[in-house]
């Protein structure tokens, strides 16, 4: 059985035919070819697939595409404007918040959900928030620094 899904994806109204079992991340990557959202574990652990759905960060490998029918979805591709990085992306670049970069889209999208509710998070709050985002390269220290710097840049 296929179903029609309509959503606002990065500000644009889009539709697609999917199966009930199609995951949101499959729809985003395979159908809409937005490959900035990554699949790290596919078991809801790593957070590489984090996108925003109706303003909240979610793991898109653990959401069915049909659950996003009617929703506002935004991915890492929505952040840079006219080729200019979003302050949070720039902060990751400036603070060596990435090495291989695989986890980075999820880290950035997760960080933006934190900062939306807590514009000036402490180091402890940032570390706590990153519970659902795994990085196999950086040791997290520079990611935490990046998020603090990104939050500061977004405040000013």
């Amino acid at each position: 059985m296929t179903l029609m899904v309509t959503m606002t994806l990065n500000g644009e109204s889009v539709s697609a035919e999917v199966e009930g079992r199609t995951l949101l991340v499959q729809l985003i990557r395979d159908h809409f070819r937005l490959t900035g959202t990554h699949v790290g574990c596919d078991t809801s652990q790593c957070g590489a697939c984090v996108v925003h759905m109706n303003g909240q960060s979610v793991k898109s490998c653990t959401v069915l595409a049909v659950q996003a029918d009617g929703a506002q979805v935004s991915t890492i591709e929505s952040l840079a404007e006219n080729g200019e990085l979003h302050p949070m992306q720039q902060a990751f670049k400036d603070n060596h918040g990435l090495q291989c970069g695989f986890c980075t889209p999820g880290m950035v999208m997760s960080a933006l959900d934190l900062v939306a509710n807590n514009p000036d998070p402490s180091e402890a709050e940032i570390r706590d928030w990153l519970e659902g985002n795994l990085c196999r390269c950086t040791g997290y220290h520079n990611i935490v620094k990046s998020i603090a710097a990104g939050a500061q840049a977004m405040r000013s």
Binding site: M1, L3, E19, G20, R21, L23, D42, T43, S44, Q45, G47, V50, Q56, S57, V58, K59, T62, V63, L64, V66, Q67, S110, D113, L114, W129, E131, G132, N133
Partner: protein, 264 residues
């Protein structure tokens, strides 16, 4: 994932009657357990009935000395609710300690208790606070709800609509979390109210259980030292790569003592 038919229910009645008609349906709440289970092909329902549109299952109300939480209320909503934080801070703390922010943004209280994972946090709150589970057809007392590992008193197709927690005089939840998932290796909810003292343990056994000896000691004297010398038997407790039954038994006493201290 095997194929299934997906539909969104338009009311509780619609959800329950679709489930009855199908005979082989799963309700979908936050999906934080069901979707991983489907991916692993550990379940193959013919129909998945999404409860997302059922506004009647969402929200938090304080009335008659109890906090009633709709089944579709997310862990993040419970953790962030000023009402819950004011009435039962232990419950807000428990919700805040579940998994990670993305799991808390989707996962719901109804899904958590219906799933009855032996390491889940909410079962400790339901039993430790003496809550009442409301379903589409009846109410079920806390002590009758969790029957075995991943088993509850729910009949096939029965839908949890809300859980109401009586406001205790004091309560606290302490957990020793699995460092990766944050599920409880051992979690203990302790509460005191006009109805007496409750000590409920999750993570340690096949299902949440109460420790009568600790409850009696605390009813006589609600101080951490009252439980410090009381231990549960390791026999029958869970064993996995994270902890042996003996270690879990030890943690029950430690977490209970800390919970009593925190409840103050």
């Amino acid at each position: 994932m095997y194929e299934f038919n997906y539909r969104r229910a338009s009311s509780v009645f619609d959800a329950v009657s679709s489930s009855d008609q199908s005979g082989d349906a799963s309700y979908l709440a936050g999906g934080m357990t069901l979707i991983p289970v489907l991916k692993f092909r550990l379940a193959a329902p013919s129909d998945v009935i999404d409860l997302a549109d059922l506004g009647e299952l969402k929200g938090i109300r304080t009335e008659n000395g109890a906090v009633a939480i709709g089944a579709m209320t997310t862990h993040a909503e419970v953790a962030g609710s000023a009402e819950v934080r004011q009435a039962i801070p232990a419950l807000a703390d428990l919700a805040e300690s579940i998994g990670d922010p993305q799991v808390r943004n989707r996962g719901t209280i109804g899904g958590s208790i219906a799933n009855a994972d032996p390491a889940a946090d909410y079962p400790a709150a339901v039993v430790g606070l003496g809550a009442t589970v409301h379903t589409n057809s009846r109410t079920i007392g806390a002590d009758d709800f969790f029957t075995a590992m991943f088993e509850t008193a729910l009949e096939p197709g029965e839908l949890v609509t809300a859980v109401s927690f009586p406001v205790p005089d004091r309560a606290a939840y302490m957990k020793f979390p699995n460092p990766a998932s944050r599920y409880a290796i051992v979690g203990v909810m302790v509460s005191q109210s006009g109805d007496g003292v409750r000590v409920a343990v999750t993570g340690a056994g096949g299902r949440v259980f109460r420790v009568a000896e600790m409850e009696q000691a605390l009813a006589a004297n609600f101080v951490p030292e009252a439980v410090a010398g009381i231990s549960v038997s390791a026999e029958g407790l869970n064993e996995d790569l994270h902890a042996s039954p003996e270690y879990r038994a030890h943690l029950v006493t430690v977490m209970a003592r800390r919970a009593v201290a925190a409840a103050g």
